[in-house]
């Protein structure tokens, strides 16, 4: 593979949607400004020219209506992909997400199902303040009936999105907006290979500390791993990729090996997804392997502030992860 396969996440997501739409006629994309504008973050750039306005559908600013229309279309033989411009705006559409899409298959007895994907950018770091910067993965993970995907690399985003589109259930696919324009550390395969939902990825093996991180925090943790290794701290990094359903097994196996666990997320700490990881570890026999208290690194329990220095202070930074990793290994031998 050549260098040009080091795609950005935006390119990888576009490639997955393009492949899915070429593979099957029932897939279409719908959202605000996804057509000629190419989406607020340019993810669907050029797709309208390729597929036409019947398959790349521009909508009015009506999040509830759009998601509801996707639910209805999904019930009627289509496989819609809905782009919500910022994941914060899913709040506008929550009835259709939480009460309709998530529950229909179970509640209505199983005869109907909702094969749809809701894609939305999340995360801070763009100076857009509290209503455009949240990480809301824990909201969705707390609703039975939704699958929740938080890719951390372009290659994962592509393979996971293809699986999400194939899936007969509603999938919330949360893309970190800082990763959109960043080239990935790995090449993105050219084909249509799927990465199954519900399989955690061991990004790096290590024997001193298990770091479980989601979304952009995986990317941040990877930046310090080699530096720590040079100082004799060998960290394992595990990316659940699908936070719901959660594949806990590789995490437990790693904790049994390292005896130390640090969990990292961008979203607020209180009632966050990482707490579920910790709960499952403490309920398992891996708990007996722990030689150190579990460390949580998460966003502060505050709305994301605007000014760059305040925004930076609100979520874990690379330095925070490095310092915490050093401390836990140093203090608990």
């Amino acid at each position: 593979m050549s260098d040009d396969r080091f795609l950005t996440m935006a390119e990888a997501v576009r490639e997955a949607m393009t492949i899915a739409m070429e593979e099957r006629p029932d897939v279409f994309l719908m959202g605000e400004d996804v057509g000629i504008y190419g989406g607020a973050f340019g993810v669907s750039a050029g797709m309208r020219d390729k597929f036409g306005e019947d398959r790349i559908i521009d909508t009015p600013i009506s999040e509830l209506g759009i998601v509801g229309a996707a639910v209805g279309a999904a019930l009627s033989g289509m496989r819609p992909i809905v782009e919500i411009q910022f994941s914060d705006f899913t709040a506008q559409a929550m009835d259709q997400i939480a009460n309709q899409a998530a529950k229909i298959h179970f509640m209505l007895g199983g005869a109907l199902h909702v094969p749809m994907v809701l894609r939305a950018p999340q995360g801070s770091g763009t100076g857009a303040a509290a209503q455009h910067s949240q990480v809301l993965e824990a909201w969705f993970a707390n609703i039975p009936g939704l699958k929740v995907v938080t890719p951390s690399t372009p290659a994962d985003a592509k393979g996971l999105l293809l699986s999400a589109i194939d899936d007969p259930n509603p999938v919330i696919f949360l893309e970190h907006k800082l990763l959109y324009k960043m080239k990935g550390l790995e090449e993105v395969p050219t084909g249509a290979e799927r990465i199954p939902l519900g399989v955690s990825k061991v990004v790096r093996q290590g024997k001193d500390l298990t770091i479980v991180a989601t979304g952009i925090m995986v990317y941040k943790a990877r930046q310090i791993a080699d530096k720590l290794a040079a100082d004799g701290i060998d960290v394992a990094i595990i990316d659940p990729r699908t936070i719901s359903p959660l594949d806990i097994k590789p995490i437990l196996a790693s904790v049994e090996e390292t005896g130390r666990l640090m969990v990292v997320q961008e979203g607020p700490k209180h009632a966050g997804f990482i707490n579920e990881v910790i709960a499952q570890v403490t309920e398992s026999s891996a708990f007996g392997s722990l030689i150190a208290p579990i460390k949580r690194l998460a966003g502060l329990d505050i709305p994301i502030p605007y000014a760059p220095q305040l925004e930076k202070a609100a979520v874990p930074q690379v330095e925070d992860i490095e310092a915490a990793a050093r401390e836990i290994v140093k203090n608990w031998r």
Binding site: G65, G68, V71, G72, A74, L75, S76, Q100, G109, G110
Partner: protein, 332 residues
């Protein structure tokens, strides 16, 4: 066996169609009476939203629909399900929490769906079904299926954002959808006069650039005629229609209702406008059915409901086995 169309056509066009309209109104009435009775005996769990007095709306609307046309329904949805062709036994069984119920006991009264008759489901959220019907209509248009989607909703839904967003999407995309408002005068205890500045809710159609029509929702003939016009428009690619079917629920909102917000006189006045005798009078006047035939149709409805209750009561109760496996559909 693939389900076939129920009778489609004007309720006064033939003896068969008149019999069908009368039978389905009676089925809805007798179903609701049976539900109330089962509740009264403590055999039914949860709550109930009865549509007694409103039978002409769903019956008239569904007589303009094919089996592959789709509907979304409401918390007060028994009538819509029945008029679209749902199986009475599976409905009662669901309300009784039985395994053979439409949802295997997982949904209950507010969540009956029947994929085979195009019923995408009743809905516990006011306005929840309106965007879903619009999405079904979008799928019909994209797939060039020629089907129409109908959203049944109450007057209360029309003040939900979901209605507004969905109506606008249907209008701008010219979708084959009928927005069927059952204005039964109250959203729980709130009178429409307190919730709207409008006399005719159908006037809201203008705001979306679509036709709106107010009909006597207790006249199955008037409802059918409006429904037929709307369905023809939809099927011909002329876009959505808003129908306001003015009716009245005789019973309270749900079992907790003490009717403190309306008078006995008002309820009695509307009982005088009962859609069933009104239609019987029309069909007898038209010479389509005689009294004995009308009585036989009523008896048929009673017998069908009785049989459905009987079978359901004896059916196996739903169990909690497999609940965790029912959340997601397994990949094929």
């Amino acid at each position: 066996m693939a389900p076939t169309n129920l009778l489609i056509g004007h309720p006064l066009a033939s003896k068969e169609l008149a019999s069908h309209a009368l039978l389905y109104m009676w089925k809805v009435r007798k179903f609701e009476e049976a539900v109330e009775d089962l509740f009264g005996r403590g055999m039914m769990h949860g709550t109930m939203h009865l549509s007694i007095g409103q039978e002409a709306g769903p019956t008239g609307m569904c007589m303009a629909l094919r089996i592959d046309d789709q509907i979304t329904s409401t918390h007060r949805g028994h009538g819509h399900c029945i008029a679209k062709g749902a199986d009475l036994t599976r409905m009662i069984a669901e309300l009784l929490g039985k395994k053979i119920g439409y949802c295997g006991g997982r949904g209950g009264s507010m969540h009956i769906a029947d994929a085979e008759t195009g019923n995408l489901g009743a809905n516990g959220v006011v306005g929840g079904g309106v965007p879903i019907a619009v999405g079904a209509a979008l799928a019909s248009k994209l797939q060039k299926k020629g089907t129409v989607a109908v959203s049944f909703f109450g007057d209360g839904s029309m003040n939900e954002g979901a209605f507004h967003e969905a109506a606008n999407l249907a209008a701008i995309w010219n979708l084959p959808v009928v927005l069927f408002c059952e204005n039964n005068k109250y959203g729980m205890s709130s009178a429409t006069s307190k919730a709207f500045k409008l006399e005719n809710l159908a006037d809201r159609g203008k705001g979306y650039g679509i036709p709106g029509e107010t009909v006597d929702g207790n006249d199955v003939v008037a409802v059918y005629e409006a429904a037929e016009r709307a369905v023809n428009r939809a099927r011909n690619g002329e876009g959505p229609t808003l129908i306001e079917s003015v009716t009245y629920r005789w019973k309270g909102h749900s079992r907790s209702d003490k009717n403190l917000y309306r008078t006995k006189d008002e309820i009695e006045e509307w009982k005088e406008k009962d859609p069933i005798p009104k239609f019987i009078h029309r069909v007898q006047e038209a010479g389509l059915l005689n009294q004995a035939e009308c009585d036989a149709i009523q008896q048929q409805a009673v017998d069908e409901i009785f049989a459905a209750v009987n079978t359901s009561v004896k059916a196996e109760s739903a169990t909690a086995d497999g609940l965790l496996d029912a959340v997601f559909k397994a990949a094929n």
